[in-house]
């Protein structure tokens, strides 16, 4: 059985009389330790998939089994626990707490999970050994995203979910972040899902799930994912 199994997933928003189908009949599987890119233009439904995978939203229909547990019927409390212990989230706009230093931002996540990694080590591993005591406002975009990644990793999550992690960064920095994510995925065997509209990034993934108009357009497996250095922005 796959690590993540999504079956016939649908999400329908009821807006007064009108029903908007954000995604319909989405099915895919992800193996443990895989680096997956969910690719699609904006409005295709990838954020909905992310929200459901991340435990921020529940599907209208369908099941989603993560590591043997069906999270599609989770209640509010169970979803919180799921987010808390199983998910590491990397935001497009980093979402660091401005009033906390890099180290503290990482520790913040540390506080709430069972088996956290050492904050300093994680920060070191993302290359911010010397920036730990800095506040977000004192860090560059890339550095902030590294902190964000470190914060996600420190929780030792089952799944690392990244929402357009390079969306707010220039290509050079974006590449570095993607590299970091790829390295981390491979080194720590953490299942990593990156959501992006940037097709170039798809090259580095083990599996690419292409989304269009709320449905899966294609699922492609990369036998030989490219190292980040080789992709062209």
């Amino acid at each position: 059985m796959a690590f993540i199994e999504v079956k016939n997933l649908s999400k329908i928003y009821q807006m007064g009389e009108v029903k908007i189908k954000a995604i319909e009949n989405v099915s895919f599987t992800i193996e443990k330790g895989e680096l997956v890119v969910i690719l699609g233009p904006s409005g295709a439904g990838k954020t909905t998939i992310l929200n459901i995978l991340g435990g921020m939203d529940s599907p209208t229909h369908g099941t989603i089994i993560v590591d043997g547990t069906d999270i599609s019927k989770f209640n509010r409390k169970e979803l919180t626990r799921y987010r808390r212990y199983d998910i590491g989230f990397v935001f497009q706009f980093y979402n660091l707490v401005g009033n906390l230093t890099a180290l503290e931002n990482v520790s913040l996540a540390n506080q709430i999970c069972k088996n956290p990694r050492d904050s300093k080590e994680v920060l070191e591993s993302v290359g911010l050994k010397d920036r730990m005591e800095h506040f977000p406002a004192q860090l560059s975009g890339g550095e902030q995203q590294r902190v964000s990644i470190a914060r996600a990793l420190a929780k030792n999550p089952k799944i690392l979910l990244c929402d357009e992690p390079t969306g707010a960064l220039d290509s050079k920095t974006g590449k570095k972040i993607i590299k970091l994510l790829q390295d981390t995925c491979h080194q720590t065997n953490t299942t990593t899902i990156i959501i992006t509209h940037n097709a170039i990034i798809a090259g580095i993934a083990d599996k690419v799930i292409k989304v269009k108009n709320g449905t899966i357009e294609a699922i492609e497996k990369n036998k030989n994912p490219l190292p980040v250095e080789e992709i062209d922005w």
Binding site: T47, N51, G54, M56, D57, K77, T80, R81, Y82, R83, R84, Y85, I87, F89, F91, Q92, F93, N95, V97, G98, N99, L100, T101, E104, S107, L108, A109, Q111, I112, C113, F135, P136, A137, Q138, R151, K155, D163, A168
Partner: protein, 1003 residues
């Protein structure tokens, strides 16, 4: 137009914010307007009442009454608008000092509260709350006819009088000096020759508002006229009285003279008559005396004569008898001798008839016969003589006895006359003495009257104005007190409201920065944009002001009025919207709110629209000072570190939260504190200081403890009676007259009933060379031990009292002294009151007849309890408003806090923080601030409580300024409850925060 529509939509979308803005403005405006307006409403209400009832501006009382001439003179004053005369009479009824007034028509009119006006002279009106309609009032004083025509009156109506608006009616000239009741009767019930008082209203004074300088100015010209007129009328009256008295003396003297003249003659005639009668009687006696003497003389003479006859006859008889004896005849009586002789003569005749006439024998015998015949003749003569003598004797005796009887009866008659005469004489003497006495009395009276005229004092006019009415001045004081409170509370509310508004608006504009940017880039002028926000704010402010003013002008003044005027008998408050104040409030609110908005919006325009469209670069975090103290910082848990860091991130909010919370705490504590203080003074005053049950007012004052009363009390198990002289006197401060109870005790040990201590709780005892006065007197007069104070009775008589100690006391003002010192300072002491514990023997005590009245301590307590109960209203007002303020402030601050950190919170949710952790993340700051705020608030509250109580203190009351532990607990509990309520509201908001928001770009 579109911009305005946009503003309206903002209201709809963020209705909570709009409403909280309205509430804040409403609270500020309500409190500001309400408290500010109360005193002016109060004064206006009373002014209207004074005008309706034509409260006098001046009252004139003279030591010798006032005449029609006085009235005329007063009416002629050019500044007098209305003048009316009246009569009063003070007496004690059932131990209560009661003052009777004539019902006036033009000045000091009473307002009928229930019942009807008297229709006849046996009906009366009373002040509302004293007697009931239908009660009968009987005057006990037997001298009432000197003043009134009737002594029994039936209550037919109750009234309110602007002269007596304070439940402390002032001082009286009778009983214990405290006026207890006022009764109104028709004027013609009075039987007094002179008017007791005359009231005046000055021109234009009714148009002026009482208590203002304008009023003082308006009455001043009449005052000057009165000052001028007083000596003239005093002199007139003096001379009139003197002349009348002199005339009366003259008439009296004339009368005496006439009386003397007429009666002296009558008495002289009577005396002469009596004397003549005596003379006649005396003459009668003399005559009788003479007659008796004559009779006696006659008796002696006649007796002697008869005796001589008898002797002569006896001599004749004896010689005859001797001859007879020779003839051989011895007999015992004359008759026998005659018979014997006759027989011898017969025998001789017989012998002779046989003998010759010429014979010798014959001759012999013839001779013998002749001798015998001569003898017989003699004997017959003698016998006749005796018979005559006996007859004469009998006749004399008869005459004598008859005469004597006549004389004796005459004498008896005279004796009767004499007795009668003696009675008449005694009567005469008595009458004469009476007459003399009468004359002497008359003369004495004249002498007295002359002496009185010699000592006749000039009459003195006393001029009283409204300021001399304790109710009138006390009322102003109450109103002024509200003003001083008005100075503190509303400023606080306004300041909070202002800060909250600023905070809300800044936040709103920050949130809508992008929108502003869009509008600007679209080319809409910045004025229009500003206008849209100003419109938003002004709409909220206007609604807030309308709500605030309508509450402020109605509810708050009523509550304050009821609380502060609890001790007054006055009409209910009329609320006036004070237009200038209204406009000021509206202007100030609108202006400040607009300025705040313009400032908050305007500062965005210094950036180019493009900058506005970009998110604000986040403020850099900063380490706080505490982090440098490593050994503490190390020990603080991570979440607390975050909290502390966050706390210092928004300094503005810390300050506002602290102000809000500490302010509310302070207000709450003050509210509870006020209640504590008042209830505490009751406990201390009546359980620690004055521990007696009752004051028994003696029917008749005594100079020394009365044995009968003591026995009576002992028989009824009333122990340790403390004989006391009690009197209400007054003292004057620079601007008012204040009553105080003066108590002088027979016994120097009063520890059974009074526990006087100085401010350090050292017991005080009575001394012979000074009085103990209570704290408030010392405060008001600014005197200390060793100084003297001046006390006055209702006749303005002055007494100087030296202070030997100052005692702790909370309610009323007292001057305590020993009887020795009373004798020294006031003159001879009489005891009119007994202080004791009677439990529930009141009826027995009153039935004994020794006492006219009982003043129970319990009654004073329950009266004060009423005041305390009404003070609860103000406490609830304060608590209510502060609670509302507290919730609004906390809610407002928390929601702003949340909206500022929306993204952060959404992120934490995504990271897997559970609801509790998120609430705590936000709320930990509020908790810390609440705790700090409460502590600061308690300190401010202590000060505020002290201030409010200082202001609320009257001339008769000192408040204890301590606050009960329980009140701290209540304050804490309420604050905790508010915090929890706000947390619940916040939790609802927090739960609604959508995690998806964290994915959006920073706005």
């Amino acid at each position: 137009m579109l911009i305005l529509k946009n503003a309206l939509r903002k209201i709809k979308n963020q209705i909570g914010r709009f409403i909280s803005l309205i509430f804040i403005v409403a609270l500020g405006a309500a409190f500001f307007a309400g408290v500010r307006e109360t005193s002016s409403d109060m004064i206006k209400t009373l002014d209207e009442y004074y005008d309706e009832t034509n409260l006098m501006d001046f009252r004139i009382v003279s030591t010798m009454g006032l005449t029609t001439d006085d009235l005329q003179a007063l009416e002629n004053l050019s500044n007098a608008f209305i003048v009316e005369e009246n009569y009063t009479y003070e007496t004690v009824i059932n131990g209560d000092a009661t003052k009777f007034y004539g019902l006036t028509e033009n000045i000091n009119n009473v307002t009928l509260m229930s019942g009807s006006y008297p229709s006849n002279n046996n009906e009366c009106l009373v002040l509302d709350g004293s007697y009931e309609i239908g009660d009968t009032i009987t005057i006990e004083d037997e001298n009432y006819p000197d003043y009134l025509n009737n002594n029994t009156y039936t209550v037919v109506g109750t009234v309110r009088s602007s002269m007596y608006i304070y439940n402390n009616l002032g001082i009286s000239t009778v009983s214990d000096g405290k006026l207890d009741n006022v009764i109104y009767i028709p004027k013609d019930n009075f039987n007094i020759e002179y008017y007791t008082e005359i009231y005046l209203i000055a021109n234009d004074s009714l148009e002026a508002t009482s208590y203002t300088d304008d009023y003082d100015e308006k009455i001043n010209s009449l005052y000057l006229e009165l000052e001028e007129l007083a000596p003239i009328q005093e002199t007139k009256r003096y001379e009139q009285i003197k002349t009348e008295a002199m005339e009366q003396i003259y008439d009296a003297r004339e009368e005496i003279r006439k009386n003397q003249e007429e009666n002296e003659a009558t008495f002289a005639d009577a005396l002469k008559e009596l004397n003549d009668a005596q003379a006649q009687i005396d003459a009668g006696y003399r005559e009788i005396e003479q007659a008796l003497n004559e009779l006696e003389n006659n008796r002696i003479q006649i007796t002697a004569e008869l005796q001589a006859n008898e002797d002569e006859l006896n001599n004749g008889l004896n010689s005859i008898n001797a001859t007879l004896t020779t003839l051989g005849i011895t007999t015992n009586t004359i008759d026998e001798s005659i018979n014997a002789l006759n027989m011898q003569i017969t025998s001789i005749n017989n012998l002779l008839s046989g003998l010759d006439e010429t014979s010798a024998e014959y001759l012999y015998y013839n001779n013998i016969l002749t001798n015998l015949k001569t003898l017989l003749n003699s004997l017959n003569e003698i016998n006749n003589g005796f018979t005559e003598l006996n007859e004469a004797r009998t006749t004399w005796n008869t005459t004598y006895n008859e005469t004597l009887n006549t004389l004796n009866s005459n004498k008896n008659t005279l004796d009767q006359s004499q007795i009668k005469l003696n009675t008449n004489l005694a009567e005469y003497n008595q009458n004469y003495e009476l007459f003399q006495e009468e004359i002497n009395n008359g003369l004495q009276k004249i002498a007295d009257a002359e002496a009185a005229i010699a000592e006749l004092e000039r009459p003195v006019w006393y001029l009283f104005d409204r300021e001399d009415n304790s109710g009138y001045t006390t009322f102003l004081e109450s109103a002024t007190k509200i003003d001083s409170i008005a100075a503190v509370f509303p400023i606080f509310f306004i300041a909070v409201a202002f800060l909250m508004c600023l905070n809300t608006m800044s936040r709103m504009i920050e949130e809508e920065r992008t929108e502003i940017g869009i509008f600007t880039s679209l080319g809409i002028s910045k004025y229009k944009i500003i206008l849209s926000y100003v419109f938003y704010v002004l709409l909220a402010t206007s609604i807030g002001i309308i709500i605030g003013l309508s509450i402020g002008y109605t509810v708050i003044p009523r509550v304050l009025y009821n609380v502060y005027t609890n001790a007054f008998i006055i009409p209910s408050l009329k609320t006036y919207a004070n237009i200038p104040v209204c406009i000021t409030i509206i202007e100030v609110c609108l202006l400040t709110m607009s300025l705040v908005t313009i400032y908050a919006v305007g500062r965005n325009f210094k950036y180019a629209p493009a900058t506005l469209l970009r998110p604000v670069s986040p403020k850099s975090g900063r380490k706080v000072l505490l982090e440098k103290i490593n050994f503490i910082w190390k020990r603080i848990s991570f979440s607390w570190k975050v909290t502390i860091r966050n706390l210092f991130r928004y300094k503005k909010r810390i300050i506002m939260t602290l102000i809000g919370i500490s302010g509310c705490t302070a207000l709450l504590l003050t509210g509870f504190g006020i209640r504590d203080s008042i209830s505490k003074i009751l406990d201390i005053q009546f359980e620690e200081i004055q521990t007696y049950d009752a004051m028994l007012i003696l029917e008749e004052s005594v100079n020394t403890p009365d044995q009968n009363i003591n026995t009576f009390l002992a028989n009824n198990e009333v122990a340790n009676p403390l004989y006391t002289h009690m009197e209400t006197l007054s003292f004057r401060t620079s601007d008012k007259t204040i009553d105080c109870y003066t108590l002088a005790f027979e016994n120097t040990d009063i520890s059974n009933y009074l526990h006087l201590t100085d401010k350090d709780d050292n017991p005080l005892s009575l001394s012979a060379d000074g009085a103990i006065i209570t704290e408030k007197i010392a405060d008001l007069l600014d005197v200390s031990v060793g100084d003297t104070i001046t006390l006055r009775d209702s006749n303005n008589e002055i007494y100087i009292v030296k202070i030997s100690a100052i005692s702790k006391n909370y309610i009323n003002n007292y001057v305590y002294m020993s009887s020795e010192y009373y004798n020294l300072a006031f003159g001879d002491i009489t005891y009119n009151t007994i202080i004791t514990n009677i439990e529930n023997k009141g009826d027995i005590i009153l039935d004994s007849g020794y006492f006219s009245n009982i003043q129970y301590t319990e009654d004073s307590i329950s009266m004060l309890q009423d005041i305390i109960d009404s003070m609860n209203n103000i406490v609830f007002l304060i608590i209510g408003f502060s609670s509302f303020l507290a919730i609004t402030v906390l809610y407002n601050l928390t929601t702003i806090n949340i909206s500022e950190r929306l993204r952060e919170i959404a992120t934490l949710k995504v990271l897997g923080f559970n609801d509790k952790e998120i609430s705590m993340y936000v709320y930990r700051e509020t908790i810390i601030l609440t705790i700090i705020g409460i502590f600061i608030g308690i300190f401010i509250g202590l000060g505020l409580n002290y201030f409010v109580l200082m202001v609320a203190e009257t001339d008769e009351i000192i408040f204890v300024k301590d606050i009960n532990y329980l009140s701290y607990i209540y304050t804490l509990l309420i604050m905790i409850i508010f915090t929890i309520i706000v947390q619940i509201m916040t939790n609802i908001i927090l739960k609604k925060i959508n995690m998806i928001d964290s994915l959006k770009s920073v706005e």
